[in-house]
Amino acid sequence: MKVSIFTTCMMDLMFPHVGKNMVEVLERLGCTVDVPDDQICCGQPTFNSGYVEASWPVMHNQIDALSAIDCDYIVCPAGSCTAILKEYPELLVDDPNDPTGDYMARAKILSAKTYEFSQFIWRVLGIADCGAELDTVATYHRSCHMTRLLGERETPFWLLENVKGLEMRQLDGIQYCCGFGGTFSVKEHEISELMVTSKVENIEKTGAETLISCDPGCLMNIGGRFNRLGKPMKIMHIAEVLNHNVDESRIKKISEVATPAPAPFP
């Protein structure tokens, strides 16, 4: 199975280890991985700030870049960026620079084969247990875009359930945004501060020593706040968890484990 990595600008700029762990997990599970060279960014930073005109070239570049390599699936380490790429066919309806509809046509193809990392493992590869082990008490931060725009509420919880040694604690107020919101965190930093502060309080209340999420942006925000406050918290992207201390003999398919409960939270 050929998989292209949709790297996201944030991972490229800031968090190389997320990509490494992701590639290692996917290869272990039998994928042939490649990284399309000219890809940059899904266009969210400008689009969501209202600079829509400036966003068309960004999206066009992303479509060109991701279409350049033949693959079965595109996998992304961020729920938010995945959601936007999947929304391309809706966004491009207003695109004035696509007279032949060529970008739209390719956007539809890309959109259909793009998955967020945890989603891909569970729903496409059909893997329930990646064979990982992590001895820690953790809680999970659910990103808004992954939950609401991508509509994925379950796969991270299900995969984490099967990590050996991992104790998951429920997070109060899990439905509330951490205050990242891309440029919002910079432009409206006063409000963002209140939001991330309350997120940090709730995470501390769980007694967890590790915070896991599927969105590097949220982790950068919450982790940055923990660091500012000088409070200890181990911050992990789910790819790092699923690549931790792996024993390949423990890898299990969905059919080999008990059917998990539906989304633990609404």
């Binding site: 990284v35 969501n48 570049n61 930093h189 200890p232």
Partner: protein
């Protein structure tokens, strides 16, 4: 004050809201309480997503054929013997209402909750009339009135920012001598207001839905104050936004069910009332029935990408799920219509000059869109506002155009992005600090953090640390090339 509830600049309102610890706690508690009630009520009904589509289809149809429905409604009000006044502006509406009160020789006006009359700033206008007393009868609005006309901070729970002790203090001024138990205070308010109700000669009510095919209106309340206001006085003035129509009772009933579950987590509000001009032979209810239909810039949304906001049924669910509202409360928005619905609606009603900041005061988490019972894509409409303000009106908002256009260029050109990847690590040393990393793992690759950054980064580092980007040789792409060469993808 009308649509605007504050004269402070946006950032000062946020700072004030951040300091108001009580309001903050009380809003958080209210949101959490409503969360469980609302979700349970919707789950119990079943098929919620299909109900939403049904609700949306009703409201969309009404907005699309609004002139026809308004015509039908007003014809039917007239047939029953009532009156309809179409007001394009708040001034027109106020003049008409004051005139009716004069004609009716009204001296004691009772009001039940109506956001539109707050939009009109009607209370102030009524206070200015000699020989006319005015009483807000919704418990929350009564509290605000008696607190020297404090501004509402929620469209369903206007006094959400006040606690029992504040209410206690307010009631003591009215002669209340009991403790701060809400039950006791409510009983006092009942007695106090009942006396004034009984002498009322004009009732002013809002309108949840106006029934086009019968010329009656539909009111949803839990307290029953609207029912007293439409029973006791001999004249009733209904004040409604022009979009508040439904074709018939059948659709009103559907919306009532969805409204109650969304607004207060009940199956129906305690009182669901369909009423209009008194029928010959009846002895109470309005002998003189007036409806004021207000535009006040709502029509600016028609025929635009913002038309969907007129579908809103004012359930307040989007406020109740909003993480920004949770932090800054209604007063932080500075508009009578706060929260996500307000951030979309206020710039349309009051203009970008005054409310242009609101569409930016959102992390676009889409909790509002997810909860809206009539499927208004609220967070997308916020982005559309941003687009109008930046691309079309070129209004500056925090970032300079230049900065964002650089981001646009940088993220659309592979060459420039690769250069950025190569050099991102450089030139940061003035802001970099060897600060112990307590948020371990994620930020551990170079053990230094930016604690006070330049330009756009400054907003970030005012609140949290920023990891210094890795050196180019540590980048993912560099690693991957190497990894591939080693046959990493051999499987």
């Amino acid at each position: 004050m009308g649509l605007s509830t504050s004269t402070l600049p946006f950032k000062e309102r946020i700072a004030a809201a951040a300091k108001d610890k009580f309001a903050h706690a009380s809003i958080a508690k209210a949101q959490d309480t409503q969360y469980t009630k609302r979700e349970n009520a919707r789950a119990e009904l079943g098929n919620w997503q299909d109900w939403r589509k049904l609700g949306q289809s009703i409201r969309q149809h009404v907005i699309q054929y609004l002139p026809d429905y308004l015509e039908e409604f007003s014809d039917n009000v007239e047939k029953r013997g009532g009156n309809v006044f179409f007001a394009q502006t708040t001034d027109e509406a106020n003049d008409f209402i004051l005139n009716v009160i004069k004609q009716q020789q009204g001296h004691h006006v009772v009001k039940s909750k109506s956001m539109v009359t707050a939009e009109l700033d009607l209370d102030k206008k009524l206070q200015a009339l000699p020989d006319v007393s005015i009483l807000e009868t919704d418990l929350a609005e009564f509290i605000l009135q008696e607190d020297d006309w404090d501004e509402p901070s929620h469209i369903v729970f206007p006094a959400i920012h006040k606690d029992r002790n504040q209410v206690h203090t307010i009631f003591k001024k009215l002669g209340y001598e009991g403790d701060n138990d809400p039950e006791h205070m409510a009983r006092f308010a009942r007695k106090y207001m009942r006396e004034r109700f009984l002498e009322a000669d004009v009732g002013i009510t809002g309108c949840n839905f106006a029934i086009a095919d019968s010329g009656i209106i539909n009111l949803d309340t839990n307290e029953g104050n609207a029912d007293l206001a439409d029973s006791i006085p001999k004249a009733q003035i209904v004040v409604m936004g022009m979009e508040r129509l439904v074709p018939s009772m059948k659709e009103a009933e559907i919306m009532d069910n969805m409204l109650a579950r969304s607004a207060v987590g009940q199956k129906l509000t305690t009182y669901v009332t369909f009423e209009g001009q008194q029928t010959p032979g009846e002895t109470d209810g309005p002998e003189n029935f007036y409806v004021v239909v207000l535009d006040n810039n709502r029509s600016k949304a028609l025929g635009t990408e913002f038309q969907e906001i007129l579908q809103c049924i004012r359930c307040g669910a989007c406020l109740n799920v909003c993480p920004v509202y949770r932090q800054i409360g209604g007063h932080g928005y500075g508009s009578l219509y706060p929260g996500p619905v307000g951030a979309v609606l206020s710039p349309i009603l009051g203009g970008y000059e005054q409310f242009g900041e609101l569409p930016f005061a959102s992390s676009l988490c889409a909790a509002c869109t997810e909860t809206c019972p009539v499927l208004i894509p609220l967070h997308n409409l916020l982005i559309k506002h941003r687009e109008v303000e930046t691309d079309r009106l070129n209004m500056m908002h925090g970032f300079t155009d230049f900065q964002m256009k650089v981001v646009g260029k940088g993220t659309s050109s592979p060459f420039m992005f690769k250069m950025a990847l190569r050099f991102k690590h450089f030139g940061l040393s003035p802001w970099t600090h060897q600060k112990p990393v307590t948020a371990t793992n994620f930020f551990e690759y170079n053990n230094s953090m930016i604690t006070k950054g330049p330009g756009m980064v400054g907003g970030w580092t005012d609140v949290r640390d920023l990891p210094v980007p890795p050196k180019h040789r540590d980048d993912f792409r560099v690693w991957f090339k190497h990894h591939k060469k080693q046959g990493g993808d051999a499987k």
